[in-house]
């Protein structure tokens, strides 16, 4: 089967300014210009440090795979997902995707606390890239999955954390993109909700859709992923069957 995603030698470099990644102000730029005209040494404002969040990542993903991405904090997992989601550009290398990408990098992206559940379904769906017609067609399924029927017209700021998460996951899962990207979104749910989400993910992948799934929960990675990628210091150090990759991860952090 042809790959749905090709990741080719992708690297990402971030520039960290000394003042902790804050953009310079016009005032600083003018001050530095004047200093350099006057002849003073004006290098102080641009004392940047460079660091590689990802280095030379290459892999292919076929339709229907559920790919677990594991690694320590700061290993580059989120950066990789952001590049595949088209949020940030790689510094070098390329990614080819044959299909729509839906990302859920954070529970409830774009939810507005003052709007009702019903309104947020439409808003969130539109942000993810659904058409209004598509949303109307899937509305009942989303509401049913999220189990929020009686609270549809309540502002989501009064929702419990569980309801809020269920609704956010439901919208993203029913978007049915060819590639669904999930970053740690299940970490906060209870066991019943996690099982429900994982079952939905299985169903989505059975339709030939691809899922990227970042998690620190090795149980759910082992249970549901068909493949795992291990990132370490921005490099892809293991790629293959879930069990050996998890084992080498646990060894690397000294747990096994």
């Amino acid at each position: 089967m042809l790959p749905i995603i090709q990741v080719r030698d992708v690297s990402k470099q971030y520039r960290v300014t000394r003042s902790a990644m804050v953009a310079p102000t016009l005032r600083e730029v003018f001050a530095a210009k004047i200093k350099s005209i006057v002849g003073e040494n004006g290098h102080s404002a641009y004392n940047d440090e460079l660091f590689w969040a990802l280095r030379g990542i290459t892999f292919d993903v076929r339709p229907g795979e559920i790919v677990g991405i594991i690694g320590r904090n700061g290993a580059g997992k989120s950066t990789l997902l952001k590049i595949i989601s088209r949020i940030v550009k790689p510094t070098s290398g390329e990614v080819n995707i044959f299909g729509r990408v839906g990302s859920l990098l954070e529970i409830g992206t774009g939810f507005h606390p003052d709007l009702s559940g019903r309104e947020n379904i439409f808003l969130n769906g539109a942000i993810l890239g659904m058409s209004r017609q598509e949303m109307r067609r899937k509305f009942d399924d989303i509401v049913g999955f999220a189990e929020v029927e009686t609270f549809l017209d309540t502002p989501v700021k009064y929702y419990s954390t569980g309801m809020y998460m269920r609704l956010a996951f439901a919208v993203a899962a029913h978007f049915e993109p060819e590639v669904l990207i999930l970053d740690e979104v299940l970490a906060v749910g209870d066991a019943a909700f996690q099982q429900k989400c994982l079952a939905k993910m299985k169903q989505v992948s059975a339709q030939g859709r691809t899922i990227f799934f970042v998690s620190h929960d090795m149980m759910s990675v082992r249970q549901f992923c068909s493949r795992a990628l291990l990132l370490e210091g921005g490099k892809l150090v293991a790629d293959g069957d879930v069990i050996p990759v998890i084992t080498s991860y646990l060894e690397s952090i000294g747990l096994q």
Partner: protein, 288 residues
């Protein structure tokens, strides 16, 4: 897989017509960007709808505020400038004249100042999901456009009160409103992305907006500008737009040279902003 899923054939069909996306270090090309923006135009509607809904739900005065802002300014300028300074107003009663300038001005000023902060204000969405980012400053202008239309209802009432009837040149009013909208989109989008690069744009902006007001025929007629300065003056696109808006409204002669310059400058500015917006956005999002 043990069972044949009914979704499979559908998804294979979906894949054959699904878009091919290439992500690399080069800046995204303009044409795919524009077609992406067009494809997600419904999001523009939802973003405007979200802001209107939230605003009218939270603000006690709600819609009244939209009308109050230009009315209060009209009263202030009428008392201070017309009574004390004896401003000319092209033969139109000064309060009506000022209000007809302050309505488009309020639209432009609010669009530009809200637009300039719009990408920063929506950074939590921008860093979490992809969609054409230019929709955000455009949506900000869209919200103010609704305000403008509401303020125009009062304008119609005011014109009736002063006994200005229907006439043919009213048909030109939409031309100047479209011009004002394009100008607001261009300046708002430009500042929104500039604001990602230099965070003190927001601090500087109120002063610049105030200066822009006095450099435009809002509370005085363009006819008071000395003839020698008129050509230079008309390179401020807002001058031709507000002057033309008012001329169309009151049936005064339209300054076609000024209008033409204003619309040309606006479209050139818009083209420039469209050409740089995404490139800048892609470079600057790393800082968010």
């Amino acid at each position: 897989m043990s069972s044949v899923n009914p979704g499979t054939s559908e998804s294979v069909a979906a894949q054959s017509r699904s878009p091919f996306i290439k992500i690399d270090a080069r800046p995204s090309r303009l044409l795919p960007q524009l077609s992406d923006t067009w494809r997600q135009r419904e999001l523009l509607y939802f973003l405007v709808w979200r802001d209107l809904k939230v605003r009218y739900r939270q603000t006690f005065l709600g819609i009244a505020w939209v009308v109050l802002q230009p009315i209060l300014m009209t009263i202030v300028f009428t008392v201070f400038f017309s009574r004390l300074g004896h401003f000319q107003s092209d033969g139109v009663p000064y309060p009506l004249f000022a209000y007809a300038g302050l309505v488009p001005w309020t639209f432009i000023a609010n669009s530009v100042s809200a637009g300039s902060g719009s990408l920063l204000a929506n950074s939590s969405i921008i860093t979490k999901v992809y969609f054409p980012r230019v929709l955000i400053p455009i949506a900000t202008v869209g919200v103010r456009l609704v305000d403008l239309l509401v303020a125009c209802i009062v304008l119609i009432g005011l014109m009736a009160f002063y006994g200005i009837g229907m006439h043919a040149s009213l048909m030109l009013v939409p031309v100047f409103m479209i011009g004002a909208t394009l100008l607001a989109v261009a300046v708002g989008s430009w500042l929104s992305v500039l604001n990602l690069r230099y965070r003190d744009v927001g601090t500087l902006l109120p002063v610049l907006i105030q200066l822009w007001m006095f450099a435009s025929p809002i509370i005085y007629p363009a006819s008071t500008v000395p003839e020698a300065w008129r050509l230079l003056y008309s390179f401020n696109p807002l001058a031709g737009i507000v002057d033309g808006f008012r001329a169309a409204l009151f049936g005064l002669p339209v300054d076609w040279r000024g209008t033409l310059i204003a619309l040309t400058v606006t479209i050139a500015l818009l083209a420039y902003v469209i050409s740089i917006f995404n490139r800048w956005q892609e470079q600057l999002i790393d800082h968010l």
